[in-house]
Symmetry: C2
Subunit: 433 residues, 2 copies
Amino acid sequence: MENRTYTADAEPGETVTVAGWVHEVRDLGGIAFLILRDTTGQIQVKFEKDEMDDELVETGLNVARESVITVSGDVEEEPRAPTGVEVTPETVEVLSEADTELPLDPTGKVDAELSTRLDNRTLDLRSEEGQAIFEIRAEVLRAVREAFRDANATEINTSKIVATGTEGGTELFPITYFGEEAFMNQSPQLFKQLVAGSNIERVFEIGPIFRAEEHNTPRHLNEATSIDFEGAFCDHTDAMDVCEQVVTAAYEAVAENCTDQLEALGITEEFEVPETPFPRLSYEEAIERINATGELDEQLVWGDDLPTEGEKALGDDVGGHYFITDWPAEIKPFYIMDHEDGELSTGFDMMHPRMELVSGGQREHRREELIAGFEQQGLEPEAFEYYTKMFKYGMPPHAGWGLGGERLLMTMLDLDNIREAVLFPRDRQRLSP
Amino acid sequence: MENRTYTADAEPGETVTVAGWVHEVRDLGGIAFLILRDTTGQIQVKFEKDEMDDELVETGLNVARESVITVSGDVEEEPRAPTGVEVTPETVEVLSEADTELPLDPTGKVDAELSTRLDNRTLDLRSEEGQAIFEIRAEVLRAVREAFRDANATEINTSKIVATGTEGGTELFPITYFGEEAFMNQSPQLFKQLVAGSNIERVFEIGPIFRAEEHNTPRHLNEATSIDFEGAFCDHTDAMDVCEQVVTAAYEAVAENCTDQLEALGITEEFEVPETPFPRLSYEEAIERINATGELDEQLVWGDDLPTEGEKALGDDVGGHYFITDWPAEIKPFYIMDHEDGELSTGFDMMHPRMELVSGGQREHRREELIAGFEQQGLEPEAFEYYTKMFKYGMPPHAGWGLGGERLLMTMLDLDNIREAVLFPRDRQRLSP
């Protein structure tokens, strides 16, 4: 639109055309106010019934809420207006009329169920809070990519249609690919390793992953955004260093560039950039500390995986982001390198007090050990030959991790449900919009 | 790896540990040179057989090409070395031994078929050219995102699993989604419109799209990267302005930040940032100019779609990027807004002389016209209710476009085959790696 002025840029003394949605209309009798909302904020439009053209007043005051209009007129200072200025309209044009009944109230005065909000995302994201979450999401992605580049990593995109899953056939969505069976990729794991073995050495990818998990909880999605790193000549400690830098960079960028959005979400006070380095607890220390909290009915013993309540108890105890390292080798995937003793794995998790965010480790780069791992897992190494073959041609030691993008957002913004961090979430029940 | 020095950073007078691949070994008798390659370049390692420990010499000279090694030693100036310095090794450690037979030669001295290269991407991307393409790709994505942010657009990610295709059931890959039929999304078109109708107003997305097209040509992919823009209160000319800015920004960034990569590809001389504004030819002018070239056997008449040879003839005639506007309404998709006369569409294409890069237009934001469009297309509006419903609640006029990411790369770098711009391409024949 030519000559449109954002509401936030309308200065007293100017003649402007603003465009946006009818946020609300307050009719006080002789005078009435229309609040027009656009992506930058809101502005008050004043209608003085006796002094203005009847048609103009009628157009402005009879238009349904959430209709799209343009208003042209002079901007004047008005200390009683919500933003300190108001527009005296010369013309009002209705571009798109809204139904008088709305499935939810974008002004946020009436709470709506999450499912109603997700069914009506366009309306839902006219609220300050909804807009704020996705503006922060975009800023997080920007900052994460910048942090990766600072760590000498190159952005890649790998195929989402694959012949075989990373970790076997369960939890994969099957596709029909020109008559052949294929799957939607559950992780870029194998691909990023293949590129880390090239001259590019350090790579990152931010892209969708697909998991046919039956879980239908506030923290699981069937389609999620994975933030992945893989680096040649990195070991698990290097990978943890990069992880810490990337996550911290995201928080720092939001603290610096999203003050309005944090305000809209009402979390300005609580928002804190995590301190580095994140504590690195061994698995053994982790179970000891969990047991010491007394929160579990049954004490954990070495070899147990950590139950959700255990993670929560430990999270409360630590009080911030932390790593769990040196897991029993058998708990971690076969493509993770073990420490030399063979008992412990170089695999690590990075935890927020509320939940696991990251899983990573040094990878098995020795071809024979890798193939043995496939076999122990009950997978046919032949099906992965496109991958294992490259380990014949000089695969460097390498390490990496995957970070759940929505979990990062959810924990950062203290959202109750992971679906709030996704525009159009996919779960057992939800396939549209 | 602690204390690793990149080969490009090794300065005379330092003692360093470099790590990388054995690029080549030249044995001149009493003296031998090993060229070690890493992501930043190459460095010469000198072996003087009579003066050095036998085991050290043996390790260094018997290791197969493309094996991964570390070398520690002093860096000295050596004008005859490829990079002006060389390392006199104190220790050489083999981290990962390569087979002596390689399926392709990463030094690029022997040409390999594209299919061999794609089957062995890890090795293939150890060539300077391969590395350069994907480093440029990453820089293009970075620059494109920055240009979008400069245009006030917010990055979004939308679902790739969908219940219905944008343009109907053909060319969709079917998925089984917990027993229900679903599809892989062929375009974020509907989703980005839904978000443009929210308070976010202007959005961009860079993500995978999936098209079950039967074409198997050097310029088609079944999984591609789409660079999408959509903006509320934009018309088709605003959308073209943003398109021009984004494409030009990508070229400018590559010209500025990828000089080494352009050199590696041997296109430093030819590489030119396109001049703006791009010419905007109407469809009518386009067919007139194509007819005037005399390249087509049969003259085009108003209403014809442009054949590939026609696009090529026009591209040669124009000699740079250009838009084709004002198409006959019936050629363009139903969700594109027509001009007021109803004959012509606001749809546009942005062309590189070699091929179409972008398709866009102002969208139909009037709900009744949109639903009529679905019906005329033979689609059931009910199946798209999640989308059309939002047009009841104040959908602003909006416009946008989609740009083929790989086509942008292919034309920018003058690649013969679009598969060279994708790490792991998907086509009729290729499902792995």
